[in-house]
């Protein structure tokens, strides 16, 4: 902790005066409670930045509310940073620019797990704690990963939703964001494995080639239509992307094919309410992004204040939102899947 502050000052000396002044100011504010209490900073001196994959997506906005709620409960400073462009390059520059502002911790949804790893490592080298949520980075680039659903549970949840859509099974196809989206890739791999090995899902067959739509609605629709053309017996399109899953269902509805094929996967209930109420799709799945944002931000706060050190077996205490144990490789599983159907979708406001 002390070394971190001194290092920061040494760096600051080399930079332009204006920037240096800001950093020294930040350094002062964070060192005040340190000298007083003799331990890590708490309360307002803790500054946590949340960086979604990109801004402008409703899903991340909902998670942001959780982060803000955690900041209010614990009394720390919270900022939401990011670019509105869904590219790794933009996220890297967001993260790189965040480092000189000396946040205590970053809460990041990695758009490309490997591409942003060097920036995150740089942040950690500067003494900033790094928590990933929603989408993980390379393991050694962060302290903790708050996983909404462990990958197997995520895969099972989506396949369960697919079974609700197509109880007799049949051919499924996958749309992911990109080949470098760590969680999407893992979900698909496990879904394929489950279909191959688990009796519950053995009614399914799958199209081996995964399609990538980069969280773009139009591209998702074009791909959905092309998949239906390519596979006349296709029953379900599954996507981990909260953009692609509803967009694919919309494409199916537009083409009047909802009796033959349906889409499912992860989606905000607000974006699939119409489909589910009209019976176009029987089920979509997700988790509560607000609570996920809360847990991830609370975990970041506890890291920053030294309450936990990301060691296996430690417990992240998210107050009324529960306690979560740190697992292998610094993974914290939130693990509360939600499946939205006609009967419950009105309960959810996000």
């Amino acid at each position: 902790m002390f070394t971190r502050t001194r290092q920061g000052r040494r760096t600051a000396a080399g930079i332009a005066a204006a920037v240096a002044a800001i950093i020294v100011l930040a350094g002062c504010s964070s060192s005040a409670p340190t000298s007083a209490g003799g331990s890590a900073p708490t309360g307002k001196a803790v500054k946590i930045f949340m960086a979604p994959k990109f801004t402008g997506l409703a899903y991340f906005e909902v998670a942001r509310k959780g982060g803000e709620a955690a900041a209010k409960d614990e009394g720390f400073t919270f900022s939401y940073i990011g670019s509105d462009q869904p590219t790794a390059t933009d996220q890297i520059s967001t993260l790189t620019n965040a480092i000189p502002q000396k946040p205590s911790a970053l809460v990041v949804s990695a758009i490309d797990g490997n591409a942003v790893a060097p920036a995150l490592k740089q942040a950690r080298a500067a003494g900033i704690k790094v928590v990933t949520y929603d989408a993980d980075s390379a393991i050694d680039a962060r302290d903790l990963f708050v996983n909404q659903l462990d990958y197997t549970l995520a895969a099972k949840t989506m396949l369960d939703a697919a079974l609700l859509n197509s109880p007799d099974g049949g051919l499924v196809a996958f749309i992911s964001a990109s080949p470098t989206a760590v969680n999407h890739t893992a979900h698909v791999k496990i879904m394929k494995h489950l279909i191959d090995t688990d009796a519950k899902y053995s009614k399914f067959k799958y199209v081996d080639t995964v399609q990538f739509a980069g969280d773009d609605a139009q591209k998702s629709q074009d791909i959905a239509l092309n998949l239906i053309q390519a596979n006349p017996t296709l029953k379900v399109i599954i996507s981990s992307s909260a953009v692609s899953a509803p967009a694919a269902e919309q494409a199916i509805v537009n083409a009047g094919l909802q009796a033959r094929v349906s889409a499912t996967g992860f989606a905000l209930p607000s974006s699939v309410k119409d489909f589910i109420k009209n019976g176009d799709s029987k089920a979509f799945a997700l988790w509560d992004p607000t609570e996920l944002g809360y847990v991830a931000t609370a975990a970041a706060y506890q890291l920053a204040t030294g309450k936990i050190t990301a060691k296996e077996g430690q417990v992240v205490d998210a107050g009324k939102h529960g306690k979560y144990t740190v697992g292998k490789d610094g993974e914290v599983d939130y693990n509360k899947p939600l499946i939205f159907t006609k009967d419950n979708i009105d309960k959810y406001s996000f």
Binding site: T55, A58, D84, P86, Q218, P246, V253, G256, S270, K273
Partner: protein, 343 residues
Amino acid sequence: MSNPTAVTRRRLSLGGSTSALRVRFLGVVIFLAILVIAFSLLSPQFFTLGNGRSVLFTAAILAIAAAGQSLVVLTGNLDLSVGSIMGLTAYVVFDLAGKNAALQPFVVILALAIGALLGFINGVFVTVLQIPSIVATLGTLSIYRGFVSVYANAKEVTSGTLPPWMRALATQVWLGLPSYVWISAVIIAIVAVALTRLPWGRKIYAYGSNPKAARFYGLSSTRIVIGAYVGAGMIAAIAGLLLGAQVGNINSLLANGIELQVLAAVVIGGVSIWGGSGSVIGAAIGAVVLATINNGLVLLEVQEFYRLLIQGAAIIAAVWVDAIVQRRVIGSGTRRRIMEVES
């Protein structure tokens, strides 16, 4: 062969309508035919009625946007802000119409007004402020997208709030083809006629093929270029509106990055990036080429990494095929025409 063409070209040098234009997109037609034959041989699903419909549907919006882009490219400029205009228009119009049901019948007029305004701003930057179009529209690409990001505040316009008639339109099938294909065809036909028959369009060709000469003959470059941008903006706005209704859940990123596909369609379609030559019909076929490639590669289960390679190669191949066709068919004619204009 070259002599009669040259004569025709000379006679119609200002309007540039008939035979010269027909060969202008012969290249892309031949390239499309090659693609169709190749995919038909490789995939049994490709050459079916349903798949053809699907390809045309996925090409429809791109073709409309490409028609708008052609107007600007014909003047020797670019409009990189096309995707941002589409996204901004779709979000703002559907957001307003969702909050105020009285606006629902007027979404098209609203969209055209917004598109005209955004196009006008582009045109003013390029002409009055003399900023090179690639720079000016690179700027407005960000500005327009930034505006919609701020306006949307990370919210979505959800499908339930769209005007029901727009939603219905997206799903309708007329005479065996999706409504969007017909709408696209009508818009392209209107633009094609306006370009070749109206003075507004003829001036765009004249200015694009030789801005200096056009000015010498008293044509106002400012008015022509702004006119092209306004037209392109309005067409992009309609494309955005249709895309919004098709996608259903609209966020501030709608049509983000589509400008490169639109430009690719225009270039594949044989519209000269230097201005003055090419046709909207070619650009529309260029859009069909891109949609065909996307469709064929999914049908063949090509991995993502190869797909990017193939798409890029296809763009270059299409332009190359076009160049060969141009040289064979109107080769000497074009050269002679250029010499005439320059002398």
